[in-house]
Symmetry: C2
Subunit: 133 residues, 2 copies
Amino acid sequence: MQKLEHIGIAVKNLEEANVLYAKLLGREHYKIEEVESEGVRTSFFEVAGLKIELLEATKPESAIAKFVEKRGEGLHHLAFEVQNIQKSIQEKKAQGFVPIKETVSKGADNKLICFLHPKSTGGVLVELCQEIR
Amino acid sequence: MQKLEHIGIAVKNLEEANVLYAKLLGREHYKIEEVESEGVRTSFFEVAGLKIELLEATKPESAIAKFVEKRGEGLHHLAFEVQNIQKSIQEKKAQGFVPIKETVSKGADNKLICFLHPKSTGGVLVELCQEIR
């Protein structure tokens, strides 16, 4: 885990959330990106080098739709940057952490991503992410 | 909001969580601090300049005890550093955000703190914190 790359926040409506978070954080979002494979539309804010990613579900079977239905809007995941995601997954598995999927996915913001199951990480959904070079 | 000062994570047992997060983050916690007035015992990890604060309840009426009972362990709050907490509270109130208490409290890590109610911040419990000089 090199650094916290971003914090993911689940929202119901991205446009409304962009207005709210712009007020809260004192700055505007700098991009919007849809990740069709994950069923999400995302927007990004930057606060002193840290990214805050708002996630809105684009289909009812999206993990974000299920999360919002079950727990409401709010903090969703922490994403840590790693150099080599395949190696990191193997290391984390050897330590007892459980990947949600065995395969790496393409996430927003030009990243390869893999989530560790919150049951193995003290209730925190942890994303490993590696910049696609 | 100058920067994200720390991320707060609610845990059931601080000693067990310290072991788990040391494995997850690849480093040990660097301090433990009890904040009696808030009914919490905390430990701190540092990842590339960002603090991760684990919070364990020390009494059943603690906000952390209630959170864990209702939602389980996991992401609890985001704390943003501000220069002048009284001024920030007034600004945030004027923007429609709602402080949980009108008065500033003494938090862990030599900070004056104030929480904004998650009902006003899209479900995210937001802490404003100012270093005590």
